[in-house]
């Protein structure tokens, strides 16, 4: 045995009281000082940093979610607006068409009415003219007859001249 090689020397496994004392003192003080000035602050700093990192990550995740939600909302709003626009446009188109067709209808009716009126007027005028012509012709006939009757007693010749003149007169007028 190498440990006992020097005449049963047990030095190696016999704790030296002086060294025990110094180790106790040095390690004890080192433990106290390091705990107080190094490892407690370091442990706290590490924990704080981990918490901060976790918080930052959580916040980032939350923000991302919020952003996504906002984006979705925006998209929905946009879609809604688009739909609304389309609806308005459609409605406007319908109204336009309605107005146009209504106007056309109205115009048609109006035109028909005008034509109708014109026709009636023409008819009226025609009738009036015919009546006028009839009256005129009647008056003329009466006139002619009167004049003819006046000149009857004169000569035949004169009579004929008169008629001639009258006829000329008529055609002249």
């Amino acid at each position: 045995m190498i440990i006992l090689s020097e005449g049963g020397n047990l030095n190696l496994i016999t704790p030296d009281p002086g060294l025990v004392f110094w180790t106790f003192l040095i390690f004890g003080i080192l433990w106290f000082l390091l705990a107080k000035y190094a490892f407690k602050p370091i442990g706290k700093a590490l924990k704080d940093r981990e918490t901060a990192i976790q918080d930052a990550l959580d916040t980032a995740k939350k923000t991302r979610e919020e952003m996504a939600q906002l984006k979705a909302e925006n998209l929905e709003l946009l879609n809604q607006a688009k739909e609304e626009r389309n609806a308005i446009l459609k409605e406007a188109k319908e109204i336009k068409e309605e107005i146009i067709s209504e106007a056309k209808e109205k115009a048609k009716v109006e035109a028909n009415k005008i034509v109708e009126d014109a026709k009636r007027e023409i008819e009226n005028k025609k009738m009036a003219a015919i009546v006028d012509v009839k009256n005129e012709v009647g008056a003329m006939a009466v006139d002619i007859a009167e004049k003819i009757l006046h000149k009857e007693l004169d000569s035949k010749e004169a009579h004929q001249n008169l008629i001639k003149n009258l006829v000329n007169e008529i055609s002249m007028s």
């Binding site: 190498i2 704790p15 180790t23 433990w31």
Partner: protein, 336 residues
Amino acid sequence: MCRSFIAFFVSILFINISFAADAPAEGEPYNPSADIMHHIADANEFHVFGDISIPLPVILYNQESGDFDMFMSSKFEHGAKEVNGYVLDHGQVVSASGHKFIDFSITKNVFTMLFASILMFILFVSIAKAYREREGKAPKGVQSFFEPLILFVRDEIAVPNLGHRADRFLPYLLTVFFFIWIVNMMGLIPIFPGSANVTGNIAVTLVLAFFTMLITNLSGNKYYWKHIFAPEVPFWLWPIMVIVEMIGVIAKPFALMIRLFANITAGHIIILSLVSLIFVFGELGKNMGGAALGAGIAIPFVLFMNLIELLVAFLQAFIFTILSAVFIGLAVEEAH
């Protein structure tokens, strides 16, 4: 290239020939075990090479007369001189007259622990400062180097075993982890300020294990004590179970103490044994060819062992810390 390297190495060994402190008698084969034992043991001076040593303060308490003696170890002149009834034997103070005394000296191990502690204090306080000053920013420099290690201890050691109570015990676990690791790594550096076999000294591991035991039992809750003094077994088994549990209370830190001590010491012994091959083969410098052969064999093996020791340095710090966390975790656990 290879040959010149071996020649260089061998020439260094000749400077270091005082490594063989016990010069054997003529014709006697070289016995490395004594040298190895001296190298893994504590010392009252910091041996650099040859007769060059860095002196350390010697503080001795004479148990018979009750006197304190304080002086620098350089007064011994490497064991050549007797001072106040003490002599230096292979770097260690022994009583010349055979009286009982306690050595409270700042030995090689104490010096290394102080050095490591000051280093750790400066390092971690500056890191804590960096956290304060760079709040809310990404870690930088030393801070970013140590942050994964601190998080490793917290997330892989403390939290799985201690749950929400991890914060309370985290400073201790971090201190013990970095202390063991840094001191282990310093022990692998062959020259000053390294080379001390601190965690391979039973006194050091005893104190570390004692702290774990202290925390375990002081923070033990009622379930922990009930488990020890009123275990859930038929009452006539209690006398046996209580004894078994009491042994368990002692055995846990005892295992911690032995594990760390044995692993680190074993590593040092293996490396020193491999280095000793050069002296064994070289017959203390009388056989150059043998020394070269020994070096040729020893160098790759020592290199390999050093790499393994780098892993072991971390592993043992990790194991000590995780087992401490497990023991504390068992003591503070709520009823299950």
